[in-house]
Protein backbone atom coordinates (compact mmCIF):
# COMPACT_ATOMS: atom_id res chain seq x y z
CA UNK A 1 0.00 0.00 0.00
CA UNK A 2 1.13 3.50 -0.81
CA UNK A 3 2.01 5.80 2.04
CA UNK A 4 -0.84 7.70 3.63
CA UNK A 5 0.71 10.98 2.55
CA UNK A 6 -0.06 10.20 -1.07
CA UNK A 7 -3.70 9.29 -0.65
CA UNK A 8 -4.80 11.30 2.34
CA UNK A 9 -5.33 14.60 0.44
CA UNK A 10 -7.62 12.80 -2.00
CA UNK A 11 -9.67 11.34 0.80
CA UNK A 12 -9.95 14.79 2.36
CA UNK A 13 -11.21 16.27 -0.90
CA UNK A 14 -14.07 13.77 -1.19
CA UNK A 15 -14.88 13.88 2.51
CA UNK A 16 -17.66 16.47 2.11
CA UNK A 17 -19.38 14.23 -0.43
CA UNK A 18 -18.88 11.15 1.73
CA UNK A 19 -20.53 12.93 4.64
CA UNK A 20 -23.41 14.21 2.48
CA UNK A 21 -24.07 10.80 0.92
CA UNK A 22 -23.70 9.15 4.32
CA UNK A 23 -26.24 11.46 5.93
CA UNK A 24 -28.67 12.11 3.10
CA UNK A 25 -28.73 8.68 1.49
CA UNK A 26 -27.88 6.07 4.09
CA UNK A 27 -28.74 8.05 7.23
CA UNK A 28 -32.12 9.04 5.88
CA UNK A 29 -32.95 5.60 4.50
CA UNK A 30 -32.29 4.30 8.01
CA UNK A 31 -34.23 7.13 9.61
CA UNK A 32 -37.15 6.40 7.33
CA UNK A 33 -37.20 2.70 8.24
CA UNK A 34 -36.93 3.66 11.90
CA UNK A 35 -39.95 5.94 11.49
CA UNK A 36 -41.85 3.17 9.74
CA UNK A 37 -41.33 1.04 12.84
CA UNK A 38 -43.13 3.49 15.13
CA UNK A 39 -46.79 4.29 15.76
CA UNK A 40 -46.37 7.96 14.82
CA UNK A 41 -49.67 8.11 12.97
CA UNK A 42 -50.11 11.89 13.32
CA UNK A 43 -47.82 14.92 13.25
CA UNK A 44 -47.58 15.48 17.00
CA UNK A 45 -47.18 12.12 18.73
CA UNK A 46 -43.73 10.95 19.77
CA UNK A 47 -43.98 7.54 18.15
CA UNK A 48 -43.41 4.38 20.17
CA UNK A 49 -41.42 1.55 18.66
CA UNK A 50 -43.80 -1.08 17.28
CA UNK A 51 -41.43 -3.24 15.22
CA UNK A 52 -42.76 -4.46 11.91
CA UNK A 53 -46.40 -3.86 12.86
CA UNK A 54 -46.97 -1.20 10.14
CA UNK A 55 -45.40 -3.38 7.48
CA UNK A 56 -47.91 -6.13 8.32
CA UNK A 57 -50.94 -3.93 8.91
CA UNK A 58 -50.75 -2.17 5.57
CA UNK A 59 -51.69 -5.40 3.83
CA UNK A 60 -55.11 -5.11 5.50
CA UNK A 61 -55.83 -2.00 3.45
CA UNK A 62 -57.62 -2.57 0.13
CA UNK A 63 -56.04 0.58 -1.29
CA UNK A 64 -52.57 -0.85 -0.72
CA UNK A 65 -53.42 -4.04 -2.59
CA UNK A 66 -54.82 -1.95 -5.39
CA UNK A 67 -51.74 0.25 -5.66
CA UNK A 68 -49.38 -2.73 -5.61
CA UNK A 69 -51.37 -4.46 -8.34
CA UNK A 70 -51.38 -1.27 -10.37
CA UNK A 71 -47.62 -0.89 -10.01
CA UNK A 72 -47.11 -4.47 -11.20
CA UNK A 73 -49.33 -4.08 -14.26
CA UNK A 74 -47.73 -0.74 -15.10
CA UNK A 75 -44.22 -2.15 -14.68
CA UNK A 76 -44.83 -5.22 -16.83
CA UNK A 77 -46.46 -3.28 -19.67
CA UNK A 78 -44.05 -0.36 -19.54
CA UNK A 79 -40.83 -2.38 -19.26
CA UNK A 80 -41.78 -4.90 -21.92
CA UNK A 81 -43.27 -2.26 -24.20
CA UNK A 82 -40.31 0.11 -24.03
CA UNK A 83 -37.84 -2.76 -24.33
CA UNK A 84 -39.51 -4.27 -27.39
CA UNK A 85 -40.13 -0.97 -29.14
CA UNK A 86 -36.64 0.32 -28.34
CA UNK A 87 -35.11 -2.92 -29.56
CA UNK A 88 -37.19 -2.85 -32.74
CA UNK A 89 -36.17 0.70 -33.56
CA UNK A 90 -32.50 -0.12 -32.99
CA UNK A 91 -32.84 -3.30 -35.03
CA UNK A 92 -34.32 -1.37 -37.95
CA UNK A 93 -31.45 1.11 -37.88
CA UNK A 94 -28.67 -1.25 -36.94
CA UNK A 95 -27.18 -1.72 -40.39
CA UNK A 96 -27.26 1.97 -41.10
CA UNK A 97 -30.03 3.75 -42.94
CA UNK A 98 -30.46 7.03 -44.70
CA UNK A 99 -31.38 9.81 -42.30
CA UNK A 100 -30.35 7.81 -39.26
CA UNK A 101 -29.31 10.92 -37.36
CA UNK A 102 -32.74 12.47 -37.86
CA UNK A 103 -34.58 9.33 -36.83
CA UNK A 104 -32.47 9.02 -33.70
CA UNK A 105 -32.97 12.66 -32.78
CA UNK A 106 -36.76 12.39 -33.12
CA UNK A 107 -37.09 9.12 -31.22
CA UNK A 108 -34.94 10.43 -28.39
CA UNK A 109 -36.37 13.85 -27.97
CA UNK A 110 -39.35 12.92 -25.71
CA UNK A 111 -36.63 12.23 -23.11
CA UNK A 112 -36.00 15.98 -22.85
CA UNK A 113 -39.57 16.69 -21.75
CA UNK A 114 -40.79 16.36 -18.20
CA UNK A 115 -43.23 13.62 -17.24
CA UNK A 116 -45.62 16.37 -16.15
CA UNK A 117 -45.78 17.93 -19.63
CA UNK A 118 -46.04 14.47 -21.19
CA UNK A 119 -48.85 13.65 -18.79
CA UNK A 120 -50.83 16.73 -19.80
CA UNK A 121 -50.90 15.93 -23.49
CA UNK A 122 -51.52 12.24 -22.91
CA UNK A 123 -54.40 12.99 -20.58
CA UNK A 124 -55.99 14.73 -23.55
CA UNK A 125 -55.10 11.87 -25.90
CA UNK A 126 -56.44 9.26 -23.50
CA UNK A 127 -59.60 11.15 -22.64
CA UNK A 128 -62.29 8.61 -21.86
CA UNK A 129 -65.13 10.56 -23.48
CA UNK A 130 -66.85 8.57 -26.23
CA UNK A 131 -69.27 9.21 -29.07
CA UNK A 132 -70.11 12.92 -29.33
CA UNK A 133 -67.82 13.88 -26.49
CA UNK A 134 -64.83 11.97 -27.76
CA UNK A 135 -61.58 13.89 -28.11
CA UNK A 136 -58.05 12.62 -28.44
CA UNK A 137 -57.39 9.05 -29.50
CA UNK A 138 -61.03 8.03 -29.13
CA UNK A 139 -62.02 10.59 -31.77
CA UNK A 140 -59.20 9.39 -34.00
CA UNK A 141 -60.16 5.75 -33.48
CA UNK A 142 -63.76 6.56 -34.26
CA UNK A 143 -62.73 7.93 -37.65
CA UNK A 144 -60.69 4.90 -38.61
CA UNK A 145 -63.30 2.49 -37.26
CA UNK A 146 -61.50 1.24 -34.16
CA UNK A 147 -63.38 0.78 -30.87
CA UNK A 148 -63.29 3.58 -28.31
CA UNK A 149 -61.67 2.91 -24.95
CA UNK A 150 -61.86 4.01 -21.35
CA UNK A 151 -58.06 4.25 -21.35
CA UNK A 152 -56.67 4.90 -17.88
CA UNK A 153 -60.16 4.89 -16.40
CA UNK A 154 -60.65 1.26 -17.31
CA UNK A 155 -60.84 -0.71 -14.03
CA UNK A 156 -58.93 -3.66 -15.44
CA UNK A 157 -56.59 -2.29 -18.07
CA UNK A 158 -56.26 1.29 -16.91
CA UNK A 159 -52.67 0.90 -15.80
CA UNK A 160 -51.70 -0.68 -19.10
CA UNK A 161 -52.98 2.47 -20.80
CA UNK A 162 -51.07 4.56 -18.27
CA UNK A 163 -47.89 2.86 -19.45
CA UNK A 164 -48.35 4.21 -22.99
CA UNK A 165 -47.02 7.73 -22.29
CA UNK A 166 -44.11 6.21 -20.39
CA UNK A 167 -43.33 3.97 -23.35
CA UNK A 168 -43.58 6.99 -25.64
CA UNK A 169 -41.09 8.83 -23.48
CA UNK A 170 -38.54 6.10 -22.80
CA UNK A 171 -38.36 3.82 -25.82
CA UNK A 172 -36.02 6.22 -27.66
CA UNK A 173 -33.63 5.88 -24.78
CA UNK A 174 -33.79 2.10 -24.99
CA UNK A 175 -33.22 2.40 -28.74
CA UNK A 176 -30.04 4.39 -28.11
CA UNK A 177 -28.80 1.76 -25.66
CA UNK A 178 -29.48 -1.11 -28.06
CA UNK A 179 -28.02 0.75 -30.99
CA UNK A 180 -24.79 1.22 -29.06
CA UNK A 181 -24.97 -2.48 -28.20
CA UNK A 182 -25.47 -3.53 -31.83
CA UNK A 183 -22.61 -1.34 -32.98
CA UNK A 184 -20.38 -2.82 -30.29
CA UNK A 185 -20.52 -6.25 -31.95
CA UNK A 186 -17.29 -6.58 -33.97
CA UNK A 187 -17.88 -7.14 -37.67
CA UNK A 188 -15.19 -9.87 -37.66
CA UNK A 189 -17.34 -11.98 -35.36
CA UNK A 190 -20.31 -11.79 -37.70
CA UNK A 191 -18.05 -12.51 -40.66
CA UNK A 192 -16.53 -15.52 -38.91
CA UNK A 193 -19.99 -16.94 -38.25
CA UNK A 194 -20.94 -16.44 -41.89
CA UNK A 195 -17.79 -18.24 -43.01
CA UNK A 196 -18.78 -21.10 -40.68
CA UNK A 197 -22.02 -21.38 -42.63
CA UNK A 198 -24.43 -19.34 -40.51
CA UNK A 199 -27.22 -17.56 -42.36
CA UNK A 200 -28.14 -14.00 -41.34
CA UNK A 201 -30.69 -15.22 -38.81
CA UNK A 202 -28.13 -17.59 -37.33
CA UNK A 203 -25.60 -14.78 -37.06
CA UNK A 204 -28.17 -12.74 -35.25
CA UNK A 205 -29.33 -15.52 -32.98
CA UNK A 206 -25.96 -16.96 -31.97
CA UNK A 207 -23.57 -14.01 -32.26
CA UNK A 208 -25.37 -10.70 -31.85
CA UNK A 209 -28.12 -11.59 -29.37
CA UNK A 210 -25.82 -13.08 -26.69
CA UNK A 211 -23.60 -9.99 -26.92
CA UNK A 212 -26.62 -7.76 -26.32
CA UNK A 213 -27.31 -9.34 -22.96
CA UNK A 214 -25.44 -6.75 -20.84
CA UNK A 215 -27.23 -3.89 -22.63
CA UNK A 216 -30.58 -5.58 -22.15
CA UNK A 217 -29.82 -5.98 -18.47
CA UNK A 218 -28.91 -2.29 -18.13
CA UNK A 219 -32.10 -1.28 -19.91
CA UNK A 220 -34.15 -3.57 -17.68
CA UNK A 221 -32.64 -2.06 -14.54
CA UNK A 222 -33.15 1.52 -15.70
CA UNK A 223 -36.74 0.95 -16.82
CA UNK A 224 -37.58 -1.17 -13.80
CA UNK A 225 -36.42 1.35 -11.26
CA UNK A 226 -38.19 4.20 -13.06
CA UNK A 227 -41.33 2.15 -13.16
CA UNK A 228 -41.49 1.08 -9.52
CA UNK A 229 -41.25 4.64 -8.25
CA UNK A 230 -43.42 6.22 -10.95
CA UNK A 231 -45.12 9.31 -9.59
CA UNK A 232 -45.01 12.44 -11.79
CA UNK A 233 -46.72 10.84 -14.74
CA UNK A 234 -49.58 9.38 -12.74
CA UNK A 235 -50.20 12.66 -10.93
CA UNK A 236 -50.13 14.63 -14.17
CA UNK A 237 -52.50 12.26 -15.98
CA UNK A 238 -55.04 11.51 -13.29
CA UNK A 239 -54.10 13.23 -10.03
CA UNK A 240 -54.75 11.29 -6.85
CA UNK A 241 -57.58 9.12 -8.15
CA UNK A 242 -57.74 5.70 -6.57
CA UNK A 243 -58.33 4.13 -9.97
CA UNK A 244 -54.71 4.79 -10.94
CA UNK A 245 -53.16 4.68 -7.48
CA UNK A 246 -49.57 3.43 -7.16
CA UNK A 247 -47.43 3.16 -4.01
CA UNK A 248 -45.63 6.46 -4.68
CA UNK A 249 -48.94 8.35 -4.97
CA UNK A 250 -50.37 6.49 -1.97
CA UNK A 251 -47.31 7.59 0.03
CA UNK A 252 -47.84 11.21 -1.00
CA UNK A 253 -51.46 11.01 0.11
CA UNK A 254 -50.44 9.38 3.40
CA UNK A 255 -48.01 12.21 4.15
CA UNK A 256 -49.96 15.26 2.98
CA UNK A 257 -53.63 14.28 3.20
CA UNK A 258 -53.77 11.64 5.94
CA UNK A 259 -50.90 13.27 7.90
CA UNK A 260 -49.63 9.84 8.84
CA UNK A 261 -45.80 9.87 8.78
CA UNK A 262 -45.43 6.26 9.92
CA UNK A 263 -47.66 5.00 7.14
CA UNK A 264 -45.88 7.16 4.56
CA UNK A 265 -42.53 5.85 5.76
CA UNK A 266 -43.80 2.27 5.57
CA UNK A 267 -44.88 2.64 1.96
CA UNK A 268 -41.61 4.40 1.14
CA UNK A 269 -39.66 1.53 2.68
CA UNK A 270 -41.51 -0.96 0.53
CA UNK A 271 -40.70 1.08 -2.59
CA UNK A 272 -37.01 1.15 -1.64
CA UNK A 273 -36.95 -2.59 -1.01
CA UNK A 274 -38.66 -3.35 -4.33
CA UNK A 275 -35.95 -1.40 -6.16
CA UNK A 276 -33.00 -2.52 -4.00
CA UNK A 277 -33.77 -6.22 -4.54
CA UNK A 278 -32.55 -6.06 -8.10
CA UNK A 279 -30.37 -2.94 -8.15
CA UNK A 280 -27.91 -4.04 -5.45
CA UNK A 281 -26.96 -7.34 -7.13
CA UNK A 282 -26.69 -5.47 -10.42
CA UNK A 283 -24.35 -2.83 -8.97
CA UNK A 284 -22.12 -5.42 -7.32
CA UNK A 285 -22.04 -7.41 -10.56
CA UNK A 286 -21.13 -4.42 -12.72
CA UNK A 287 -18.41 -3.12 -10.37
CA UNK A 288 -16.87 -6.61 -10.23
CA UNK A 289 -17.03 -6.88 -13.99
CA UNK A 290 -15.29 -3.55 -14.41
CA UNK A 291 -12.54 -4.57 -12.01
CA UNK A 292 -11.93 -7.79 -13.93
CA UNK A 293 -11.49 -5.97 -17.21
Amino acid sequence: MRRARTWLPGLLLVTPSIILIGVFVYGMLGWNVRLAMTDKHDEVSEGEFVGLQNFVDIWDQPRWHLSVNHAIVFTVVFVLGALLLGWLLAFLMEKGIKGEGTFRAIYLFPMAISFVATGIVWRWLMNSGTEERAVGLNRLFDWIGLPQWQWFRDPDWGMAAMALPAIWQMSGYVMALFLAGFRGVPEELREAARVDGCNEWGVYRYVVLPLLRPVTLSALIILGHISLKVFDLIVAVSGKQIITDVPAVFMWVAVFDSHDPAKGATIASYIVVSVAIFVIPYLIWSVRKERRS
Partner: protein
Protein backbone atom coordinates in the same frame (compact mmCIF):
# COMPACT_ATOMS: atom_id res chain seq x y z
CA UNK B 1 -27.12 -11.98 -57.37
CA UNK B 2 -29.55 -9.36 -58.64
CA UNK B 3 -32.39 -11.17 -56.87
CA UNK B 4 -30.48 -10.92 -53.59
CA UNK B 5 -29.68 -7.28 -54.22
CA UNK B 6 -33.34 -6.67 -55.04
CA UNK B 7 -34.42 -8.31 -51.81
CA UNK B 8 -31.89 -6.22 -49.88
CA UNK B 9 -33.23 -3.02 -51.41
CA UNK B 10 -36.79 -4.14 -50.66
CA UNK B 11 -35.89 -4.87 -47.06
CA UNK B 12 -34.28 -1.45 -46.75
CA UNK B 13 -37.49 0.18 -47.95
CA UNK B 14 -39.54 -1.80 -45.44
CA UNK B 15 -37.19 -0.73 -42.67
CA UNK B 16 -37.33 2.87 -43.83
CA UNK B 17 -41.12 2.77 -44.02
CA UNK B 18 -41.44 1.36 -40.50
CA UNK B 19 -39.07 3.99 -39.13
CA UNK B 20 -41.12 6.76 -40.74
CA UNK B 21 -44.29 5.22 -39.31
CA UNK B 22 -42.81 5.35 -35.81
CA UNK B 23 -41.69 8.93 -36.36
CA UNK B 24 -45.31 9.84 -37.05
CA UNK B 25 -46.43 8.06 -33.87
CA UNK B 26 -43.81 9.87 -31.82
CA UNK B 27 -44.85 13.20 -33.28
CA UNK B 28 -48.61 12.84 -32.66
CA UNK B 29 -48.46 14.35 -29.15
CA UNK B 30 -46.33 17.19 -30.51
CA UNK B 31 -48.93 17.95 -33.15
CA UNK B 32 -51.62 17.98 -30.47
CA UNK B 33 -49.62 20.32 -28.26
CA UNK B 34 -48.95 22.82 -31.02
CA UNK B 35 -52.30 22.70 -32.81
CA UNK B 36 -54.35 22.95 -29.61
CA UNK B 37 -52.27 25.74 -28.11
CA UNK B 38 -53.04 28.10 -31.01
CA UNK B 39 -56.78 27.49 -30.99
CA UNK B 40 -59.26 30.10 -29.85
CA UNK B 41 -61.88 29.04 -27.29
CA UNK B 42 -64.54 29.04 -29.99
CA UNK B 43 -62.88 26.04 -31.62
CA UNK B 44 -62.66 24.02 -28.42
CA UNK B 45 -65.48 21.59 -29.23
CA UNK B 46 -64.58 17.87 -29.49
CA UNK B 47 -65.60 17.73 -33.16
CA UNK B 48 -62.61 19.85 -34.12
CA UNK B 49 -60.21 18.17 -31.70
CA UNK B 50 -57.75 17.06 -34.37
CA UNK B 51 -58.15 19.99 -36.74
CA UNK B 52 -55.61 22.71 -37.17
CA UNK B 53 -56.89 26.01 -35.79
CA UNK B 54 -59.03 27.87 -38.32
CA UNK B 55 -58.09 31.17 -36.75
CA UNK B 56 -54.66 31.11 -35.16
CA UNK B 57 -54.37 32.99 -31.89
CA UNK B 58 -51.64 33.39 -29.29
CA UNK B 59 -54.17 34.25 -26.60
CA UNK B 60 -53.69 30.92 -24.79
CA UNK B 61 -49.92 31.44 -24.88
CA UNK B 62 -50.25 34.88 -23.33
CA UNK B 63 -52.42 33.63 -20.45
CA UNK B 64 -50.24 30.55 -19.93
CA UNK B 65 -47.13 32.73 -19.82
CA UNK B 66 -48.70 35.00 -17.19
CA UNK B 67 -49.65 32.03 -15.02
CA UNK B 68 -46.40 30.14 -15.47
CA UNK B 69 -43.82 32.95 -15.37
CA UNK B 70 -43.16 32.84 -11.60
CA UNK B 71 -42.57 29.10 -11.85
CA UNK B 72 -40.21 29.49 -14.79
CA UNK B 73 -38.18 32.04 -12.86
CA UNK B 74 -38.07 29.76 -9.80
CA UNK B 75 -36.85 26.94 -12.02
CA UNK B 76 -34.04 29.13 -13.33
CA UNK B 77 -33.03 29.99 -9.77
CA UNK B 78 -33.10 26.27 -9.02
CA UNK B 79 -31.51 24.73 -12.07
CA UNK B 80 -28.63 27.14 -12.75
CA UNK B 81 -26.93 27.15 -9.32
CA UNK B 82 -27.92 23.53 -8.79
CA UNK B 83 -26.23 22.24 -11.90
CA UNK B 84 -23.10 24.37 -11.36
CA UNK B 85 -22.68 23.14 -7.78
CA UNK B 86 -23.25 19.53 -8.85
CA UNK B 87 -20.62 19.99 -11.50
CA UNK B 88 -18.01 21.27 -9.04
CA UNK B 89 -18.59 18.46 -6.55
CA UNK B 90 -18.73 15.78 -9.22
CA UNK B 91 -15.52 16.99 -10.82
CA UNK B 92 -13.54 16.88 -7.56
CA UNK B 93 -14.91 13.47 -6.62
CA UNK B 94 -14.31 12.04 -10.07
CA UNK B 95 -10.73 13.35 -10.04
CA UNK B 96 -9.93 11.74 -6.72
CA UNK B 97 -11.69 8.45 -7.50
CA UNK B 98 -9.81 8.06 -10.76
CA UNK B 99 -6.39 9.59 -10.07
CA UNK B 100 -5.82 9.80 -6.30
CA UNK B 101 -7.43 6.60 -5.20
CA UNK B 102 -7.32 5.80 -1.51
CA UNK B 103 -7.83 2.39 0.14
CA UNK B 104 -11.49 1.42 -0.13
CA UNK B 105 -12.18 3.79 -3.03
CA UNK B 106 -13.96 1.05 -4.99
CA UNK B 107 -16.29 0.19 -2.16
CA UNK B 108 -17.01 3.87 -1.63
CA UNK B 109 -17.77 4.30 -5.32
CA UNK B 110 -20.25 1.42 -5.23
CA UNK B 111 -21.91 2.94 -2.17
CA UNK B 112 -22.15 6.24 -4.07
CA UNK B 113 -23.68 4.51 -7.07
CA UNK B 114 -26.49 3.03 -5.03
CA UNK B 115 -27.46 6.61 -4.23
CA UNK B 116 -28.23 7.04 -7.91
CA UNK B 117 -30.86 4.34 -7.90
CA UNK B 118 -32.64 4.85 -4.60
CA UNK B 119 -36.25 5.85 -4.98
CA UNK B 120 -36.28 9.30 -3.39
CA UNK B 121 -39.50 8.44 -1.61
CA UNK B 122 -37.28 6.46 0.75
CA UNK B 123 -35.56 9.61 2.05
CA UNK B 124 -38.34 12.12 1.58
CA UNK B 125 -39.98 12.19 5.01
CA UNK B 126 -36.68 12.48 6.93
CA UNK B 127 -35.52 15.08 4.41
CA UNK B 128 -38.63 17.17 5.03
CA UNK B 129 -38.08 16.85 8.78
CA UNK B 130 -34.43 17.86 8.46
CA UNK B 131 -35.22 20.91 6.33
CA UNK B 132 -38.01 21.97 8.70
CA UNK B 133 -35.46 21.59 11.49
CA UNK B 134 -32.95 23.75 9.61
CA UNK B 135 -35.60 26.44 9.18
CA UNK B 136 -36.19 26.49 12.92
CA UNK B 137 -32.50 26.28 13.78
CA UNK B 138 -31.51 29.21 11.58
CA UNK B 139 -34.70 31.18 12.09
CA UNK B 140 -34.94 31.55 8.31
CA UNK B 141 -38.56 30.69 7.55
CA UNK B 142 -39.23 29.37 4.09
CA UNK B 143 -35.57 29.02 3.11
CA UNK B 144 -34.68 25.38 3.56
CA UNK B 145 -38.16 23.87 3.75
CA UNK B 146 -40.53 25.66 1.43
CA UNK B 147 -37.75 27.53 -0.38
CA UNK B 148 -35.47 27.23 -3.37
CA UNK B 149 -32.23 26.82 -1.33
CA UNK B 150 -33.56 23.66 0.31
CA UNK B 151 -34.54 22.26 -3.08
CA UNK B 152 -31.11 23.09 -4.52
CA UNK B 153 -29.48 21.36 -1.56
CA UNK B 154 -31.53 18.21 -2.13
CA UNK B 155 -30.79 18.09 -5.84
CA UNK B 156 -27.08 18.75 -5.40
CA UNK B 157 -26.72 16.04 -2.76
CA UNK B 158 -28.70 13.40 -4.64
CA UNK B 159 -26.95 14.40 -7.86
CA UNK B 160 -23.51 13.61 -6.44
CA UNK B 161 -23.56 9.94 -7.55
CA UNK B 162 -24.35 10.50 -11.23
CA UNK B 163 -22.04 13.53 -11.52
CA UNK B 164 -19.19 11.67 -9.83
CA UNK B 165 -19.76 8.73 -12.16
CA UNK B 166 -19.64 10.84 -15.33
CA UNK B 167 -16.48 12.70 -14.28
CA UNK B 168 -14.75 9.58 -13.02
CA UNK B 169 -15.36 7.70 -16.24
CA UNK B 170 -14.10 10.67 -18.19
CA UNK B 171 -10.97 11.25 -16.09
CA UNK B 172 -10.00 7.57 -16.30
CA UNK B 173 -9.16 8.27 -19.94
CA UNK B 174 -6.60 10.96 -19.04
CA UNK B 175 -3.15 9.30 -19.01
CA UNK B 176 -1.70 8.95 -15.50
CA UNK B 177 1.65 10.13 -16.88
CA UNK B 178 0.30 13.66 -17.25
CA UNK B 179 -0.45 13.81 -13.54
CA UNK B 180 2.86 12.12 -12.72
CA UNK B 181 4.73 14.67 -14.80
CA UNK B 182 3.15 17.58 -13.00
CA UNK B 183 3.94 15.92 -9.68
CA UNK B 184 7.58 15.61 -10.67
CA UNK B 185 7.45 19.34 -11.32
CA UNK B 186 6.38 19.70 -7.71
CA UNK B 187 2.65 20.20 -8.18
CA UNK B 188 0.38 18.86 -5.46
CA UNK B 189 -3.03 17.30 -5.93
CA UNK B 190 -4.93 20.56 -6.32
CA UNK B 191 -2.27 22.11 -8.56
CA UNK B 192 -2.37 19.09 -10.85
CA UNK B 193 -6.16 19.31 -10.94
CA UNK B 194 -6.08 22.98 -11.77
CA UNK B 195 -3.34 22.91 -14.39
CA UNK B 196 -3.72 19.47 -15.99
CA UNK B 197 -7.18 18.02 -15.41
CA UNK B 198 -9.54 20.97 -15.39
CA UNK B 199 -8.38 22.42 -18.74
CA UNK B 200 -9.35 19.19 -20.53
CA UNK B 201 -12.62 18.65 -18.61
CA UNK B 202 -14.81 20.58 -21.07
CA UNK B 203 -16.83 17.69 -22.51
CA UNK B 204 -17.51 16.13 -19.09
CA UNK B 205 -18.54 19.50 -17.68
CA UNK B 206 -20.96 19.97 -20.57
CA UNK B 207 -22.45 16.51 -20.06
CA UNK B 208 -22.93 17.00 -16.33
CA UNK B 209 -24.39 20.49 -16.59
CA UNK B 210 -26.85 19.40 -19.27
CA UNK B 211 -27.80 16.28 -17.37
CA UNK B 212 -28.32 18.07 -14.08
CA UNK B 213 -30.05 21.06 -15.63
CA UNK B 214 -32.53 18.76 -17.35
CA UNK B 215 -33.19 16.67 -14.24
CA UNK B 216 -33.58 19.73 -12.03
CA UNK B 217 -35.83 21.48 -14.51
CA UNK B 218 -38.04 18.45 -15.02
CA UNK B 219 -38.16 17.27 -11.40
CA UNK B 220 -41.57 17.11 -9.81
CA UNK B 221 -41.20 14.79 -6.82
CA UNK B 222 -38.76 16.83 -4.73
CA UNK B 223 -40.50 20.05 -5.70
CA UNK B 224 -43.90 18.84 -4.60
CA UNK B 225 -42.61 17.68 -1.22
CA UNK B 226 -40.18 20.49 -0.45
CA UNK B 227 -41.53 23.74 -1.88
CA UNK B 228 -44.45 26.05 -1.21
CA UNK B 229 -46.57 28.42 -3.35
CA UNK B 230 -43.90 31.13 -3.57
CA UNK B 231 -41.13 28.72 -4.52
CA UNK B 232 -43.00 26.29 -6.76
CA UNK B 233 -40.90 25.54 -9.82
CA UNK B 234 -42.31 25.13 -13.33
CA UNK B 235 -43.39 21.50 -13.06
CA UNK B 236 -45.54 22.04 -9.97
CA UNK B 237 -47.13 25.18 -11.38
CA UNK B 238 -47.74 23.45 -14.68
CA UNK B 239 -49.45 20.57 -12.92
CA UNK B 240 -51.59 23.00 -10.93
CA UNK B 241 -52.57 24.95 -14.04
CA UNK B 242 -53.43 21.82 -15.98
CA UNK B 243 -55.12 20.15 -13.02
CA UNK B 244 -57.62 22.97 -12.58
CA UNK B 245 -60.92 22.04 -14.22
CA UNK B 246 -61.46 25.54 -15.57
CA UNK B 247 -58.25 25.72 -17.57
CA UNK B 248 -59.02 25.30 -21.28
CA UNK B 249 -56.99 22.77 -23.22
CA UNK B 250 -55.37 25.49 -25.31
CA UNK B 251 -53.83 27.04 -22.17
CA UNK B 252 -52.79 23.67 -20.78
CA UNK B 253 -50.95 22.80 -23.98
CA UNK B 254 -49.35 26.23 -24.30
CA UNK B 255 -48.16 25.99 -20.68
CA UNK B 256 -46.78 22.49 -21.29
CA UNK B 257 -44.80 23.75 -24.27
CA UNK B 258 -43.53 26.82 -22.40
CA UNK B 259 -42.38 24.59 -19.56
CA UNK B 260 -40.50 22.33 -21.98
CA UNK B 261 -38.78 24.98 -24.09
CA UNK B 262 -35.54 25.26 -22.07
CA UNK B 263 -34.84 21.54 -22.00
CA UNK B 264 -35.89 21.09 -25.62
CA UNK B 265 -33.53 23.90 -26.66
CA UNK B 266 -30.72 22.19 -24.80
CA UNK B 267 -31.60 18.95 -26.50
CA UNK B 268 -31.64 20.51 -29.95
CA UNK B 269 -28.48 22.59 -29.52
CA UNK B 270 -26.42 20.19 -27.43
CA UNK B 271 -27.96 16.83 -28.24
CA UNK B 272 -24.55 15.23 -28.60
CA UNK B 273 -23.71 15.84 -24.94
CA UNK B 274 -27.23 15.02 -23.82
CA UNK B 275 -26.80 11.62 -25.41
CA UNK B 276 -23.50 11.01 -23.65
CA UNK B 277 -25.06 11.80 -20.29
CA UNK B 278 -27.79 9.28 -20.96
CA UNK B 279 -25.32 6.61 -21.90
CA UNK B 280 -23.17 7.28 -18.84
CA UNK B 281 -26.22 6.89 -16.66
CA UNK B 282 -27.06 3.61 -18.27
CA UNK B 283 -24.06 1.60 -19.29
CA UNK B 284 -22.13 2.03 -16.07
CA UNK B 285 -24.61 2.51 -13.30
Amino acid sequence: MTAVAGRRAGATWVRFGLLVFFVLIVLIPIYVLLATSFKPLTEADPGQAWNLPRTWTTEAWRVAWEKLAPGLWNSVLLAVPGSLLSCALGSMNGYVLSKWRFPGADVLFTLFLFGMFIPYQGVMIPLVQLLVGLNELTGLQGVFYGGIPGLVLAHVVYGIPICTLIFRNYYVTIPDELIEASRVDGAGMLRAYWSVVLPVSGPAIAVVIIWQFTSLWNDFLFAVFLTGPTSWPTTVMLNNIAGAQATPYSQQMAAAILASIPTMLIYVLLGRFFMRGLMAGALKG
